[in-house]
Amino acid sequence: MLNPLAAAPRRARRLDRAIAIAGGAASFSTLAVFGWIVWDLIRLGLPNLSWHFLTGEVETAGRSGGIGPVLVSTLLILLCCLAVAVPLGIGCAVWLSEFVRRGSRASRIVTGGVDLLASVPSIVFGLFGMTFFCQVLGLGFSILSGGLTLACMILPILVRTTLLALEGLPADLRPGAAALGLTRTTTLRQVLLPTALPGILVAITLGVGRALSETAALLFTSGYSTRWPDSLGESGRALSVHIYDLAMNIPNGSPNASASALVLLVLILLINLTATGLTERWTRHLSGTTS
């Protein structure tokens, strides 16, 4: 793609090589440390994984049995969270990017509020969720309370990353659409959002990762119950809370904590693969219609 020009002076070439080495080292060491962490999880957790572990009831506080109900609760919490956070976050980002001038007072207040929200400690979200959703709104310790609390927490990631995707769109798209006589809504629906979809999916995957890995915000909201959930109004323990309890509170819980963490990683991998698959199909679809 970029051709390191043969004519370039030797110093530039040396700088180029230095960047390549530094960047490569940075990438490689990052992945190596993570590889170490994941390898530890595999080493300790894999022997405990089985079909029964994935589908079974939690027994003796998690030391034996499986994580079936916990998995179901986790997915329900995630669904609640995304159902609220995705429309809210994308709506907010679209408004910021397409309907107000960048740097205007309204835009700065809203971005400031969102950035500030990002820096609220997760445990404060937990306390807030417990008071506001569980008590004030009367939802109790429930999957719904947990999902809503998580939605507040991942909202800034969604807004920021979607905004990035929209701002990265080619500058000539908007005047082009306007020249064709499209209204803003139509431009948005038919041009901007479809083109920005890959970026928006990145935003959602980042949010999903953050939501699935969160413990502190859920401990006080969706709770601790390991029953099979049969409504969103019931308490259900999330996988991350289960991992925390096993690792920090239950004697001899570590092996199953590692196994559960491994399951969580695979779950995130599956969600990411689905998102990437969708993005690729979508990009192909786009280039198919435009060419």
Binding site: N3, P4, A7, A8, P9, A12, I19, A20, A22, G23, G24, A26, S27, T30, F34, W36, I37, D40, L88, C92, W95, F99, G103, V110, T111, V114, D115, L116, A118, S119, V120, P121, S122, I123, V124, L127, F128, T131, F132, L155, T161, L164, A165, G168, T183, T185, T186, G199, V202, L206, G209, R210, S213, E214, T215, A216, L239, A261, L269, N272
Partner: protein, 289 residues
């Protein structure tokens, strides 16, 4: 239905969503303020700023000093960003300009996966691997250094992924034009790509700063939780969030109000920081544009 009416409807409803998103933080601040009210009323507030350490449970000599913990929060955050930002950005440059496209997808996918590793796992790993290693250098192992390293690992995927997205958003036409002008790859990166991606990378780092200040469960396991100003990298520290996590479930009424106050002050301090960064950012925009 006229087109402009649809436009206006969309504009207003999106505006509503935006106001809701931006206003949520106010709701949280009000909630913290209500929780902190007993402390404010009882005049303990000045203790928070003047006491030397944090010992609210002591009968003989209770101490409510918040400053060492605020300092710890900011130190840990600054150090972890100092580690994660160069690694993340360098990794992203490598990914965009040097890595063959076939590998790029895998790099991306791995980083996304890492963004989802639960904080407990990092804490666990930090406590069983990193802390004993640091302990061999300088006891007790639980330290400012350990907390910063664990935290920098946790925020690295965020920095790397947002930087990658920002670099990818730089139009290829511009980088190709630079190459066509005979600028080497290195010059293209420093003079074209990085400046163009600056705001995106900055936004990512801001997200990472926020995440670092707010992170709780991993840090609490490796920081040592001693509420004093550290004098070296190997001293244990106690960030504000650790205190809330350690004590909230175990605090009686007055103690709880103190913890809410600590949370409130942390959020306000971060607000000041974010406001300052945004102010600087808005000053920079016209200068560079």
């Amino acid at each position: 239905m006229s087109r402009s009416r649809t436009d206006r409807f969309v504009q207003w409803s999106l505006g509503g969503l935006a106001v809701l998103s931006g206003g949520l933080v106010l709701l949280i601040v009000v909630f913290l303020l209500l929780g902190a009210w007993p402390t404010i009323q009882s005049g303990l507030l000045s203790h928070l700023l003047t006491d030397e350490t944090w010992r609210p449970g002591s009968d003989r000599d209770p101490q409510f000093g918040l400053l060492p913990m605020l300092a710890a929060s900011f130190l840990v955050t600054a150090l972890s960003i100092g580690i994660a930002a160069p690694f993340g950005v360098a990794g992203a440059v490598f990914d965009r300009f040097y890595l063959p496209p076939g590998f790029r997808r895998w790099n991306h996918r791995l980083l996304e996966l890492l963004a989802g590793v639960p904080s407990v796992v990092f804490g666990f790993w930090g406590l069983t691997v990193l802390v004993p290693a640091i302990n061999r250098l300088h006891p007790p192992g639980q330290s400012l250094l350990a907390a910063s390293l664990v935290l920098s690992l946790m925020i690295l995927p965020t920095v790397a992924l947002t930087s990658q997205a920002a670099l990818r958003a730089v139009p290829e036409s511009e980088t190709l034009a630079a190459a066509g002008l005979g600028l080497g790859r290195a010059r293209t990166i420093f003079s074209i790509a990085l400046p163009a991606a600056k705001s995106g990378i900055g936004g990512g780092i801001l997200l990472a700063v926020a995440r670092a200040i707010g992170e709780t469960m991993a840090v609490v396991m490796v920081c040592g939780n001693i509420a004093e100003f550290p004098s070296s990298l190997f001293d244990p520290v106690r960030p504000v969030t650790s205190t809330i996590a350690l004590e909230m479930g175990y605090a009686s009424a007055d103690h709880k109000a103190l913890l809410y106050t600590a949370g409130l002050i942390l959020v306000l301090a971060v607000a000041a920081l974010v406001g300052w960064l945004a102010f600087r950012g808005s000053k920079n925009v016209p200068a560079s544009g």
